[in-house]
């Protein structure tokens, strides 16, 4: 996975890159409007951060409490060490129930585990019911954003897709028309489904219940009809008390889409009468991340997507450039923890502007963690030797005042004397789109020394 190469390709299509940048920036603006009407917003973030920090520090206790409370309500709890085990468990539950058609609402965890593919291979049909997820599912693509998975696709392209899959008119390309088509098509799927799989936004240890948030109502539709509901959650989703939902739900939708709350905020406490409710608790590397003091704060993440909306790099390079389930700043922090070599370019796909840290509702120090990952990558010897070598040379020169001054003088002289074609060539990455500044006759220190000399005369 090479982010600069992917990003370079994305940026080459300037029209699309600008379109994408503007669409995502719009989401950042909506977030700003929604948070500015809450004068206590910064305190709310602090509360969110502290509750998460506390919970993570006692995660084992809270998970055990959650399990015992949930079991009391009749929920069947399963624990999965990794993605493979998670997939086996889910498939097992579905197979035992004879379920062949499943509806799934958005769950980044199931994306992370590649659940759909696993189930399809076992002849279990999975339909993603979140509209964005459905669109990328039909296009056989990965989601490019965790809240709006199909945000990289223009509405005309969705029209083409629906024309191909639902036989609708190509000219029916207004978002309103497209949503209406999807509503009808998905309604059929809901009616025919045997089981529903959902994610979990927050699992409450105090009561054994959990909350799932949507705007479409696809969770309620999916779980309201078929008898079998399987909910999948990462270990970090547990929160201590019901009252803590007040904090997180106020933070979540405002940060994600600029809404004061999602249209549907569904609370599940035990299975429906006559139904089955299974909950799969997944580790998949999270407990290891918890052991790393420099990175464990990334487990605060409530998957709002605000960091990617504000990231100037994400907006211009698109989610697919990151090559990881979750793109943008949080993806660039989580990816390397999963596979440092594979995702070593991600922490460098950032100018460290710090905007992500400023918007994160649970105060993850994202841009600091990106820098920390760079240090890990260098220590592990994963940084390309060319870069390492360049830094060694630069450090040697800069350590020695005389070497620095002389190199500077030579550099300036060359830039002044050499013909343009020798300065601006393919190897000069800086000079591809930028000119060097007008080269001064003297450096500051030369001017200063000369001035002092004259003053002493």
């Amino acid at each position: 996975m090479n982010h600069p190469r992917q990003a370079g390709q994305y940026v080459a299509d300037q029209e699309r890159a600008h379109w994408h940048d503007n669409v995502i920036w719009f989401m950042r603006e909506k977030r700003d409007q929604a948070v500015k009407v809450i004068p206590e917003w910064e305190e709310l973030r602090e509360l969110g951060s502290q509750i998460k920090g506390h919970t993570l520090s006692r995660l084992d206790d809270y998970l055990e409490r959650f399990e015992s409370q949930a079991k009391r309500l009749g929920v069947q709890i399963h624990w999965a060490l990794d993605a493979e085990e998670h997939n086996q468990i889910v498939a097992g539950i579905l197979q035992a129930a004879g379920a062949r058609k499943v509806v799934k609402s958005k769950s980044m965890l199931t994306e992370e585990c590649h659940l759909n593919q696993f189930l399809q291979e076992r002849n279990i049909q999975v339909t993603d019911t979140d509209l964005g997820e459905r669109i990328v599912q039909l296009r056989q693509e990965a989601p490019s954003h965790i809240i709006t998975p199909a945000i990289h696709i223009k509405h005309e392209e969705v029209a083409e897709l629906f024309h191909e899959h639902f036989g609708t008119d190509l000219s029916a390309s207004d978002p309103d028309q497209l949503v209406a088509v999807a509503r009808d098509a998905l309604r059929r799927t809901f009616i025919e489904a045997d089981a529903a799989i959902t994610g979990v936004n927050f699992a409450v240890a105090e009561t054994g219940g959990f909350v799932v948030c949507t705007n479409e109502g696809n969770v309620d539709m999916g779980t309201g009809l078929p008898r079998l509901h399987i909910a999948c959650m990462g270990i970090e989703k547990v929160i201590p008390r019901i009252k803590d939902l007040g904090v997180f739900l106020r933070l979540l939708a405002r940060s994600a889409t600029g809404q004061p709350i999602t249209v549907y905020t569904s609370h599940f406490h035990g299975p429906a009468a006559g139904g089955e409710l299974h909950l799969v608790i997944v580790d998949n590397g999270r407990s290891e991340l918890l052991q790393k003091p420099k990175f464990n704060k990334s487990l605060n993440c409530i998957r709002c997507g605000a960091c990617m909306n504000t990231c100037p790099v994400y907006r211009r390079s698109g989610g697919h450039s990151y090559g990881y389930t979750i793109p943008g700043p949080i993806g660039s922090v989580l990816g390397p923890s999963r596979n440092m070599k594979e995702f070593s370019s991600l922490p460098y796909a950032s100018s460290l502007c710090g905007s992500c840290t400023a918007v994160c509702p649970v105060k993850i120090d994202l841009h600091h963690q990106l820098l920390e990952w760079r240090k890990e990558i260098v220590s592990a010897g994963v940084l390309p030797w060319t870069k390492r070598f360049a830094m060694k040379v630069a450090s040697l020169v800069l350590r020695n005042t005389w070497l620095y001054c002389t190199s500077g003088r030579i550099f300036r002289m060359m830039l002044r004397r050499l013909p343009r074609v020798l300065v601006y060539h393919r190897l000069n990455l800086w000079g591809r789109q930028r000119d060097f500044p007008r080269i001064p006759d003297t450096s500051f220190r030369e001017w200063y020394a000369q001035r002092n000399h004259e003053q002493q005369k």
Partner: protein
């Protein structure tokens, strides 16, 4: 009498000496005679930001040594100052003089505002100016309130500039988006870096700016590079250059 050391970033020293001169004269105007210790070279930011701590370490040590006898250290770069105050802990924690170094190192605008208690500079600068808010100065040093936060709005840099008669600070559509320099990012992710820079420039031109300014010459070097290549009509000046030019014109 306080001894004030001038910390001039390596690329300013070599490529933008006029910014160093402007800072020196600006400080002198407010009765501060700063010295430039010639032994200084670079704060080590490019190495540190790449994750090369071993390569940054000796530069941090050199920096501490060069500036240890000064009461204040002033620098025309938000990112270099952020490096010293927030990122040198990894290299110098516990060293004698380090805590003092952190407390005494300032970016120029915050030095004027917070230490010299100068809220604004009086003079004349009748131009339309776009203030590019460099990220380190903004979010790390708190030179202004950033657009993400729900806090009282303030800007030390804007306040300093407002005293110049005739100056018109234009309204950008994205008040504090990153310019795309980001150190080695500018070369490592060249395509995105230049697109970010071009977008910043377009924002300034659309807002009617004649001059593009900021507190970090690195951002300005990147933006000016794009401007010069495309022969756009936008002059790039460091805030210190505007302040001293304006101040002189007002005399």
């Amino acid at each position: 009498m306080k001894r004030v050391g001038l910390f001039i970033p390596c690329y300013v020293d070599q490529l933008y000496p006029q910014v160093g001169v402007a800072v020196l004269e600006l400080l002198k105007r407010f009765d501060v005679v700063a010295e430039f210790p010639a032994a200084q070279t670079c704060c080590g930011q490019p190495m540190a930001n790449t994750g090369c701590d071993n390569e940054a370490q000796p530069l941090a040590e050199k920096f501490l040594q060069v500036f240890q006898d000064y009461d204040h250290v002033v620098c025309p770069s938000g990112s270099c100052v952020a490096m010293v105050r927030h990122h040198y802990d990894a290299y110098l924690s516990g060293r004698p003089g380090f805590d003092q170094l952190k407390a005494k190192t300032f970016e120029v605008c915050e030095y004027l505002t917070d230490v010299l208690k100068i809220e604004t500079v009086h003079g004349k600068f009748p131009h339309r100016v776009g203030l590019h808010q460099s990220c380190h100065g903004l979010r790390e040093l708190g030179l202004a309130s950033s657009s993400e936060m729900v806090t009282q709005s303030f800007s030390k840099v804007q306040n300093l500039l407002q005293g110049l008669t005739g100056i018109e600070l234009v309204e950008l559509s994205r008040t504090d988006e990153c310019c795309g320099f980001g150190g080695t990012f500018a070369v490592n992710e060249e395509a995105v870096s230049c697109m970010m820079g071009n977008d910043r420039i377009r924002d300034h031109l659309d807002a009617g700016a004649e001059v593009l300014t900021g507190v970090d010459m690195s951002c300005l070097m990147h933006l000016e590079g794009l401007i010069r290549r495309q022969k756009k009509n936008l002059r790039v000046m460091h805030v210190a250059e505007i302040l001293i030019a304006g101040e002189r014109a007002g005399r």
